[in-house]
Symmetry: D2
Subunit: 282 residues, 4 copies
């Protein structure tokens, strides 16, 4: 496929959905040209949202991680995270009772904001689990893997409760070339052991896109899907999900998909982006 | 779980989403009490929609299949089918070119209504496949399985085009105790052989529910998800999908889930309906 | 990885196991240099066997397909097919009764040789299925796919009988660049629909290798696994299976694995052959 | 299916293969009647072996765990463990270099007995991983899950080396009704994250049965598979594996398969044991 400059295509759209890691930032901070790109969008009055499979922090804290790099326009309402979908689900479906969560205290903020009683899986007493109404996977930190993932398995053997996975990613980049196991992989392992069906939120699932779409429309954005561009670095989540939702898609080569692998990946998977760009730099 | 009478719960909702097969009808026609149930909903001004993983006929023809049983209130706009999602996708993403389809001529109506040139896989000449822009699985009839499913595999080895599956079910009931292989199972087989990712529409995917939800809201229905009840006979599609979308759910025991298996299935899968009813009869 | 000439490595072994398609022959006949290679092995008194996931014909008929190309040394006892494993299983485990088979009359020879009554799935009457003791998938030809694969599904809903799959391949090359769906793919589809566990024979399963190994040892061959080389064109079957069984392995680039893809495939899958050769030509 | 007394069937066989957990012992020690049953087999000169998916200790130590209960006849040579298959593989395929292992120091004895240099994954320095020739999953204890399983993922991103899983079980019973995650589940999680194919040893794989069979034949036992009975408590490992290897099989109801679930499990999975017994008690 022919690569194009991001500037030459973005003008055609009224709204842009961006993936975060590998598109706008990496472990070392913002990617080159991202500041200027957002200025360009602001000048052209092109609206934008960031769609991220991240439930480790609130949208407010996620927004702050951009603002510290002088991206003042990335406010809380520009962030759509898979953690917000978990919150929405719990608000509608788990009205009362205690929630057990897998993650840090920071990640549990979603649950506590609902007025629910949230308890870390580390603090659950399996002999007194009768009042636990759901189990939520939020983050890969904040608990002892060996002890507490085993506790999840035994909790689910005792109690038939819904299990919510608020980040479906299996791994995420840390420093340099290394990755870390994400909470989605731990949740998959528990799901296979107990043989139940967990409720999972995150790209490429359509619910993530409809959440962003409704959010955009609610803030006066376009209702015409042909006027929305999804930009991502991963074929199996960003591009597949965007395509299926009916959006145009742009694959950038600054993250998971290396420049040398793009054509091969597109051909192997049959997931075809509308555009390919080296980066989002203008 | 305690079973409840459908009448005692349905009053709490403003809108009801029904699955079709095993809930409202089976191969012998309408299930007992369905006519009276819809009269009851009409009297109470409870709105309703039928959500079906069916792409073999248009909503108009699907509606006629109810009207012939004196269910005059089931009009075209009450039907939400997975075939409509395929149509929506193709309209947005495949603007021009020839589509190859797997199914009957009747099922191809979705494609032709878009003004696209649709050709049965049976009529595709693999030496002249350059103008084919997508492959769509619509129905399990209307083609020669051995010859034409092989043709799908070889078409996808030649051409990197999107593949749309408009019915994700693997089988459906036919006469008495027998089932038939549905087009979703054929599509899965081809997907595994060619190693690509197909774009699939149907319950339990959220897109089916959001499509129905937007449809209901657009016709003046409730926007409050707590006021919508999803009624189905299958845990893995109707109930899982409804739960995940944030709806209350009712499992009925007139179809796929036999009365003796309901408790076991709920426990084994961890998919928990809000209510269990013997049937939708009032 | 460094490529080596087949001649320079084969001398180190006392026995060679060859895959058939893509190694010794393709749809146009023997591959170049195969005749001379076998003469070389005979001169050096290096023993050899052909291990093939093929249940469509008897070892005798498979051997004849080599002999017609002047490979007189490929006799029946040099052939180890997955069909032979099915025969072995049925002989041990299904002592009596009628077997239903999916395949041609020619493929059913395995079953009839056991003195069992074999009936094509095409001729099975589902209302009289009580005497059917097992279902065997043999070949992708000889039956009507739509009608008879549906019949398999309904037979397995009626009767809890063992299902034997005697060729685990999903596709096989036919003419030029085209492939055909193999019976293993049809069996997988039925297995997923009915939710049961089928008994499958073929590479990379260890049983195929132990069958060949016992055969070789029984004919006076080496008992030292370090002296056996498995030669194949497919990482996921020939090389993975050979490695796991403790054999040295040689990947050749005349079949499924294209020269340009070999290094990438080895790295992506982590399946590492002992040697890589362009072909088996000496 | 009709249940039978173990005594009435065992007389027909010359050799019995037993699964360990849930058949002969559980977390509280030997199951009732096991001592007397082995005396009975000894009197009748029926040979026996224990086949266990356990790589946490050597056969010698595993044998001692029976001898302390006065089962003096369970000597080292009566034990066939999946750990022994890993040892066999490493001896044949990984002749030199350092092995990284996941497990306790006790479990590493298999590796050190080969004269190989074995290093715990906990002690691996990822910046100096060039000399590591393979990664072996042995036990779920002896390392820090969060830190060291992440280290496995990053080691496999750096180095294309074979990965051996010497216990394919996903969980095992501990105290009372609780289970613990087994090393097989951790290995599956890593395999899915890195996208490679691991080499796995344990039931239901045929290699476990052929290893036991060769062991039995080598010690003068029967070569007639019809004279061997596999006894297990798990349909998906013991019974499926035994059936496929051509053995008669007996399901006992003292472990994983509860008496109330046996018929349902057999029907749902289509895995049919030759016999069902309450226990191995005579």
């Amino acid at each position: 496929m022919q690569k194009v400059n991001f500037k030459t295509i973005v003008d055609r759209y009224e709204t842009v959905f961006f993936d975060a890691f590998g598109v706008l930032k990496n472990h070392q901070g913002l990617l080159p040209g991202v500041l200027e790109m957002f200025q360009y969008l602001d000048e052209r009055k092109i609206d934008y949202y960031i769609l991220t499979n991240d439930a480790s922090r609130s949208p407010l804290l996620l927004a702050e991680s951009y603002q510290k790099y002088d991206l003042k326009q990335i406010t809380e309402d520009k962030i759509i995270s898979s953690g917000m979908l978990a919150t929405e689900y719990l608000k509608l479906k788990v009205a009362s009772g205690t929630l057990a969560y897998v993650g840090t205290e920071l990640s549990a903020h979603y649950l506590e904001d609902l007025g629910l009683h949230a308890i870390s899986i580390a603090d659950v007493d399996l002999t007194l689990s009768e009042d636990i109404g759901a189990l939520v996977f939020l983050d890969d930190e904040g608990f002892d893997w060996s002890n507490d993932v085993n506790k999840c398995v035994n909790l689910l053997r005792q109690r038939n409760i819904p299990v919510i996975v608020s980040n479906t990613d299996r791994s995420y980049p840390t420093s340099g070339k290394e990755v870390a196991i994400a909470v989605g992989a731990l949740a998959n392992m528990v799901e296979q052991i107990v043989g139940k069906k967990f409720i999972k939120f995150g790209k490429p699932d359509a619910q993530m896109f409809i959440f962003a779409y409704e959010h955009a429309v609610g803030q006066g954005g376009t209702v015409d899907k042909n006027k929305i561009l999804m930009v991502g670095d991963t074929l199996l989540t960003d591009i597949l999900g965007g395509n299926k939702f009916g959006l145009d898609t742009a694959l950038v080569l600054t993250g998971n998909t290396l420049p040398r692998d793009a054509d091969m990946g597109i051909k192997a998977l049959g997931i075809i982006p509308t555009h390919i760009c080296d980066s989002v730099a203008i």
